[in-house]
């Protein structure tokens, strides 16, 4: 590795602009004549719209127009869709209700958009939005997914009787039931996975610009995948055909899943721009974000785990109800199914698994993928169950896990996944050593003398990243392929531009992707530019989510680099009258191995473009593209250990140490990988300790609609983390990388809850483990 190559701890190229206030986010965009949109949103969780009267609003100062759902429908704008088809176990397709970008007949959650005001300023638009008179006929409300499935409950969509979207299963029910019946011990638990709000710090925004001269639209938006946005807006929402629609996702301030989806607002801004003849910008405020950004998690599950007399797991049976909210968001259906149940084997050799998942409509915001997406739910369920079982069986948590680890690879689980490589015990040992597990008893005793309850907990997670190959996900219902594209352009002066379909919104692609090029050609990373996030610059791409940018996005770059390298060597060989198989590239030079002959990289590039002296038949120029479709998922795994102290007087939990030992395969930039783990841990700890979306069950009002009521992790809630990595290279991609973006959020919640329940001696605790809950559980135990 060079100082800037693969594996180097390179400071980020993109940092300077962010540190000096020169980042360019969607809300920073300003174009001549631009006006501002404010949405009129339903204050009711469920109601019929009787009428909308915008007469007074339209007459207010600065107002350009007020547009509603009937106009949108009349203009042929289509319904929002869910792009992953799931079939119920009876073979019937999922029951998708209509989601209008602006509701024209019924509103189904608080925040459902019904109209948009376009005005000279945000303040004037907001003034007018208050003056839009919407006459609602309120309907009964249901927010609880278990209740929503029962007879006699309010019905959200006529397509979905009893609010059930699908009733899906995976695995062998008969084998699982038989193993449970024959078990020496069965551990049964009920698991709740709390609903979360993603809370990227940059609120969503969209700027729609319609150019009547060319009948062309431009959309600046806060997207993790601008190409997918363009595809969906063209193919399904009838905004404009792809050649008439440019989508740009400039600097994006975090996503965590919430900016994968195509929401009503960007569609409406584009449509309103054509309707009004002015560019229209909308910027979400935080309360709107709490109301309308797709939420995450929200599962209710029951679990049975069966053991034989040697404490080997013989079966796992899971029944899950997943709340999908009022509408099916873009990938909502795959999260509690193929991203969840397929991971229920965890790191363990489990002969029989059966999972049944019912998904439900409720009068709440749509739920979709949030950092980890299904995998945190699977991990939390499994690792809480393992901890409970260890306590019931009288084994140490590590011992029970060691007994059940998968130890030979590849390993076929009973739930689709074929694990390619891993060494779970190595991570467990590393984590236990880093946490000084053996010294815990003494520390607990010392804490006891101070009147504090100390506990320790672990979690062994596995996840699947880089969903693939496209043919496989297609057969499971995906509406898209999950490859990635890249194009490498070597300029005539030898500088390099890499176009990628991945999108960076904090991950540092401008640095790590450049490291890949620097590693290959020995050129400085400053001579490499990474271009992403603009459908006019990058032909097509699938974006960034599911920890896929390394394994899939960078692999596409690597493939394109292979082609560039091959052509560059041909040119150099020709220039030096050598055999191309003798050419090596080092330190920015193409050399003839074993001689002192060399051509500088820039000179080779210039030769490619002057084309005065190229091999016979070779096209001028040096630009190569690649589409990369992986052959399998990647399987990062690891072990997390959390040690806490609980104040028995208040129930306050303090995290004393948090250890993460991850196996991400090969690592391009350890500094960035560590940063990804830190961030993931903070979100997982947030879920376990602080965060939870709450609706009033009576009326569906969102009770956690600002940072006054939704507890975000702050610096003093968290410790400094102890992170380390081991490396079992992924055999299924050219770089041997696995993905690291979500691991922290996947593995951490159960480690923390296992630690708190260990401290207080009561296993009955739900997330978030607020001080009051912990206090009550601690006292119930005594």
């Amino acid at each position: 590795m060079g100082v800037e190559g693969i594996g180097a701890r390179v400071a980020r190229k993109e940092d300077k602009r962010f540190l000096t206030g020169k980042g360019r986010y969607t809300d920073d965009m300003s174009v001549p004549g631009m006006k501002y949109a404010v949405f009129v949103r339903s204050p009711h969780a469920h109601a019929k719209i009787k009428s909308i009267d915008a007469t007074a609003a339209k007459a207010m100062p600065g107002v350009i127009d007020v547009l509603d759902g009937k106009q949108l429908t009349a203009d042929g704008i289509g319904n929002l869709i869910c792009g992953w088809m799931i079939h119920s176990k009876d073979g019937s397709p999922m029951r998708m209700g209509a989601w209008r970008p602006l509701a024209d007949e019924t509103v189904r959650y608080v925040g459902d958009a019904v109209a948009v005001v376009v005005a000279d300023s945000v303040n004037e638009a907001r003034d007018a939005a208050e003056a839009v008179i919407v006459d609602y006929d309120p309907l009964p409300v249901v927010t609880d997914p278990v209740k929503a499935l029962a007879d006699g409950q309010p019905q959200l969509h006529p397509e979905a009787p009893n609010n059930m979207i699908f009733d899906w299963e995976l695995g062998d029910a008969a084998a699982t039931d038989a193993a449970i019946a024959a078990a020496a011990h069965v551990t049964e638990v009920k698991i709740l996975n709390n609903r979360l709000s993603p809370n990227a710090m940059e609120p969503r925004a969209a700027l729609g610009i319609y150019d009547s001269g060319d009948d062309h639209y431009t959309c600046y938006t806060t997207s993790q995948n601008p190409h997918l946005a363009r595809l969906v807006m063209s193919a399904f929402y009838n905004v404009a055909p792809e050649n008439k629609l440019r989508v740009i996702a400039p600097d994006v301030g975090g996503g965590f899943g919430s900016k994968i989806y195509i929401y009503p607002e960007e569609i409406v801004c584009l449509w309103a721009s054509k309707r009004t003849g002015v560019p229209v910008k909308w910027t979400c405020d935080r309360t709107e974000a709490f109301l309308t950004d797709a939420h995450g998690r929200d599962h209710v599950s029951t679990v049975k785990m069966a053991f034989d007399s040697a404490n080997k797991i013989t079966a796992l049976k899971v029944d899950t109800i997943a709340n999908l909210g009022a509408y099916m968001s873009l990938f909502s259906s795959c999260v509690p199914t193929y991203l969840y149940a397929t991971l229920l084997s965890g790191q363990y050799d489990i002969p029989a698994i059966h999972a049944n998942v019912r998904t439900v409509y409720t009068n709440t915001a749509p739920v979709d993928a949030y950092r980890g997406a299904g995998r945190p739910e699977a991990t939390y369920l499994l690792e809480r169950t393992m901890e409970t079982a260890a306590r019931e069986l009288g084994l140490s948590p590590a011992e029970l896990r060691r007994i059940n680890f998968i130890r030979s690879f590849p390993h076929q689980t009973p739930v689709i996944m074929n694990y390619d490589a891993g060494d779970y015990e190595a991570s467990l040992n590393a984590a236990m050593a880093a946490a000084d597990w053996d010294g815990f008893a003494a520390r607990k005793e010392e804490a006891e003398r101070r009147g504090m309850k100390r506990g320790i907990g672990m979690s062994c997670y596995i996840e699947a990243c880089g969903l693939a190959p496209s043919s496989a996900v297609g057969s499971l219902g995906a509406g898209v392929g999950l490859w990635e594209s890249a194009e490498v352009r070597v300029n005539a002066v030898g500088t390099i531009e890499v176009m990628t379909g991945s999108h960076s919104h904090g991950q540092g692609h401008e640095t790590t992707f450049a490291q890949l090029v620097a590693d290959r050609f020995g050129v400085p990373i400053d001579s490499v530019n990474i271009v992403h996030g603009d459908t006019d610059k990058v032909q097509m791409g699938m974006g960034t989510y599911g920890s896929r940018s390394g394994a899939v996005g960078m692999s596409a770059v690597a493939k394109a680099l292979d082609k560039v390298e091959a052509k560059a060597k041909k040119i150099a060989a020709h220039l030096m009258e050598a055999d191309e198989s003798d050419i090596v590239i080092e330190n920015g030079e193409l050399k003839v191995a074993g001689t002192d002959k060399s051509v500088p990289w820039f000179q080779m590039a210039l030769a490619a473009y002057t084309a005065h002296n190229l091999p016979a038949g070779m096209e001028p120029g040096l630009k190569e593209g690649a589409f990369y479709d992986p052959s399998n998922f990647t399987f990062p795994a690891g072990c997390y250990i959390c040690e806490v102290e609980v104040d028995p007087d208040t129930g306050q939990t303090e995290i004393i140490q948090f250890v993460a030992a991850d196996d991400f395969g090969n690592i391009i930039n350890p500094m960035i990988v560590e940063g990804q783990v830190h961030g993931g841990l903070a979100q997982g700890i947030g879920q376990a300790l602080l965060e939870g979306v709450h609706y009033d069950p009576e009326n569906g009002q969102l009770l956690t609609a600002s940072y006054m009521d939704y507890a975000m992790p702050r610096a003093d809630d968290l410790p400094s983390f102890k992170v380390s990595t081991s490396n079992t290279p992924c055999p299924n991609n050219p770089l041997g990388v696995k993905g690291c973006g979500e691991a922290g959020a996947i593995g951490s919640p159960p480690a923390l809850i296992n630690a708190i329940t260990d401290a207080i001696g009561n296993n009955a605790l739900t997330m978030p483990a607020t001080p009051e809950k912990v206090w009550a559980a601690a006292h119930a135990a005594n």
Partner: protein
């Protein structure tokens, strides 16, 4: 935010005159609550009269154990006042934990008291310190000042100019913050005079705002030690229940915070 008209007086007299001439005027101190409330369109004053540029409202004077804090003194200035620290470190510590550093640079003691948020910290200190709220027209004992949730004894147009109190022998404030807002979920200010008199004031927990707890005061007057409140019961029936904490849990926290405040005093 709705339209409003901004005014910047340089004297108390001018401020009072400006508010008198406004349809629905409000004084704007640090604005840390008022601006946020206006942004959410929950308040719509026709006029804002900014108090940040009135010199006579600022500053801290300590004379022996007698303390005067100008109403427009920021939390930051209270927290970092060496003079105040020498006689009543508890109020400096309290101020140093209000909001965050940026809020403390703008927010003022007068603004906090006039707003009387049931989860604000200063009202507990005022009650426990037996402070006097000085206005442009009169002096009001803290005991008479805080009249309910966001309600005070201030008349329309009346303006707090200063807070005065005699520093007690011992005092401390302990709060258990709401995990989300970081406002007090239960905050207890204890103060003990040389004559043995004890005051215990509780914020963040009462369903009618800040209050004193006579039971704990009596117990602590008899025995100034954390253990003294061990057998005192805190009645949960007048306490708040919300998303973050039940009344019963708040009752528990009040006792714990009282013990810790006594230990810290």
């Amino acid at each position: 935010m709705y339209q409003t008209n901004y005014h910047r007086p340089s004297s108390v007299q001018e401020a009072v005159k400006l508010i008198g001439g406004a349809a629905e005027g409000k004084y704007l101190a640090g604005g840390m609550t008022l601006i946020a409330t206006m942004k959410q369109r929950l308040a719509a004053p026709s006029d804002l009269v900014d108090l940040r540029h009135i010199a006579e409202l600022k500053g801290i004077t300590v004379n022996g154990r007698s303390v005067r804090i100008g109403a427009a003194t920021t939390h930051h200035d209270v927290a970092s006042s060496a003079e105040l620290e020498a006689v009543c470190p508890a109020i400096c510590a309290l101020a140093s934990h209000i909001g965050d550093p940026h809020v403390r640079h703008m927010g003022t003691i007068g603004g906090s008291i006039a707003n009387n948020d049931p989860a604000a910290d200063y009202p507990a200190a005022m009650l426990a310190l037996d402070a006097t709220i000085v206005t442009n027209s009169r002096q009001i004992a803290a005991a008479d000042f805080f009249t309910g949730l966001f309600e005070t004894a201030l008349d329309d147009g009346e303006i707090i100019t200063a807070i005065t109190f005699d520093a007690p022998a011992k005092a401390a404030y302990q709060k258990f913050p709401n995990p989300a807002s970081r406002y007090a979920m239960a905050g207890v200010f204890v103060a003990r005079r040389d004559n043995g008199e004890v005051r215990v004031a509780v914020t963040g927990a009462g369903s009618n705002g800040v209050f004193r707890h006579q039971g704990m005061e009596a117990a602590l007057a008899g025995n100034w030690s954390p253990d003294a409140v061990g057998n005192i019961s805190v009645d949960a029936s007048d306490l708040l229940t919300d998303l973050h904490a039940s009344a019963a849990y708040r009752a528990k926290l009040i006792k714990v915070m009282t013990k810790r405040a006594v230990a810290a005093a």
